[in-house]
Amino acid sequence: MEQFNFDRRSLIRGAALGAAGALSPGLASSFSLPLQKGRKTKRVVLVAFAGGVRTRETFGTPDNIPNMRQLADEGVLYTNVATANLGHFGATMSIFTGVSEPRGIRENARGQEPTLFEYLRKGLAMPKEDIWVTTTGGAQQVNYSYSLHPEYGAKYGANILDGEGIFNTEFKQLLDTWGMPESMGDKEKALLDQLRKGVGGGSDAVREAERLARVEEYILKELTQGTSDITGTAAGDRKALRLARNLLSLFRPKVVGVVLQNADVAHGSYNAYSEVVRQNDAAIGELVMAIREDEDLAESTAVIVMPEFGRDRDLNSRRGLDHGDGSPDLRRVTCLAWGPDFKRGVEIDSEQRTTDVVGTVCELFGTTAPLARGGRLTGLYS
């Protein structure tokens, strides 16, 4: 059985074709000038360090987070960011919508408020290829892709990949057992396009199929490149960060969102939680290293790391940490912003809010988030 022939070179070639407008008019914009006149930032990596992470174990214990500490020294550290305890799903959603609305903890449904991704795609006519989100929390988190708002919604949604879900070991084993799909010859592909066009007379189906085929190839490639093999502490989070790194290097989208979740092991074990913080810092370090080592990315990429809320002040009876005591440890977190247009080595202790991220990123790209209720992170620009 012939294996998929798909490598970095072909991806880059695909992207280059895109830049020339051959694949999609939107792809060309990925390689355009900075989005805001006078600014260097072309792309943003937004890490929602979710799962409940206190400042005590991050910037309060610098040995746990050498990589983020270094980024803070080169960027802006907001030490007093107000959060709302809306459960992981709702609180993380509020980072992406700029609206603090209660959401069920296990509610597996989309929100009513448009997301950052929808504002960017609609406001700047960004193609879907320009916005990717990688997650680790399973089915529920794909709801971050887009809202049910009638003026926004699916057509402005982000691509979302849940690393832990798609790259689960059992699925990889199944692919190994059943065998990878055979590649299709050009003539057969052309016939397939005609057949698709022939059902219900839809040429839209063909155009959509071309876009989906590229994603299909990317997934197949990732499946064979070891992402499924990441195991152990914070494996889900590390997969999400690794995917973000690969997506950034290969597709060079304008926005890469990353949603972490594994810190929530804290309910049962403080030590396991601390280890997740350390592992995630290391994975963020690898992501930033990939940015630094790529000249174009290094000069044009901003990174924002924002927890959705903290955790309780005191240990529970299992020597773990819950989230529900209303303490400052729970309600105040620390946010990090690093990028070519941001101040360097500045700490800001005036109150900010997790919901300020949407307005900040929109402003950075030169658009607005009309329905978001947060403001913008203050004192950010150099």
Partner: protein
Amino acid sequence: MENSRVHAEPFHIAVSGAQQSSSQDSRSAQDPSTKAKPARALAHGSLRTTFMDLVGRPPYESEYERWLGLGRDKLLDALLGSEEFWGHWWSEQLYYFLLVDNFQPIARATKEIPDKLAGGRMDYRTALHRIALTSSFDQRNPGSDTFVTVVMEQFCGLVVQKNRRDLESGKRAYDGGKGNFLGTIVNNQAEVIEVCVNHSKASKHFLVREYQRLMHAPGDKKALANQARRLHRDPWKYLATARDWLLSEEYSQRLERLEPKSNSLFLNGLFVDLLDRLPKEEELDPMRTALDALADPRPLRSVVVRLLLDSGRVRIPEKDTITDPTRWIGEKFQRLLGREATGEELRVFVGIFHQPDCRTATILYALLSHPEYQNY
């Protein structure tokens, strides 16, 4: 708190008997002496959709032969309340509570619940109560704040931010204290669950989400509130209520429109359509988890389609064994898309069928990866 009420006959049979008089249209379908076309006669599309709504899969090959042309009420008699119906219901409930993958309950007593439901030895409310009592549910929702919040939200549909006092009381009880929770004094975690499961709001919340699940529409609030009151008094009324919905004009309208397939439904459907069997647990779970990992699962659905078609496990006829391509293609449209192919579609497909580079698998792949197959 298992309900000890035992029905003398399988519950779905009892319900069907009780409901026969509710549908005058069903008589012609049940009376062998009449040759009149039964009311709500099942065609390919409506048969597929009703099967998928009720048991989470399209019909097997033999079931098409058995049910095509018969009345919908007859099909409901057979499916509603059957072991397969409750098996599907159970997996949908576990999914609702996000008890999937590592959080799936695996105890034997829990796995026997669909059988008990089908045998009339347990009502739906007791089954939901059992879910909340599993260690999986506890592990999925660790800590007092998360646990009590989830129980209030998912069973009663409450917004905890508007019910702070109850949340705090529930949390106290979870930790072994005492509290007034939703109007009842509770002392421990089990009592918190019991109060929620048996609360009138839980009956209403359950019915609202079941209506949405089966009818793919929000439903009339007043009618649902009345039905919820009846259900709260007697949880055994669930199947009779569902039957009324499925024989209603609203469901007939639902059969006229396409609704998106969930990932489970897509996978179950694909396996049945290609292999005439359901996926095994070890096939379904990792595939569904992978599909759930994408906001837009279509690229991966296509991978799975190709995986099956290229696996050598699907019986795909060689082109030269198909003596009547028009008929073969027409049957594939009926079977996979639940409708007749139009004349133009047949013309295009048959034309391409005769091209040397077109395999029979190419035809199947075009249909199975088409947006229309993503719906039902």
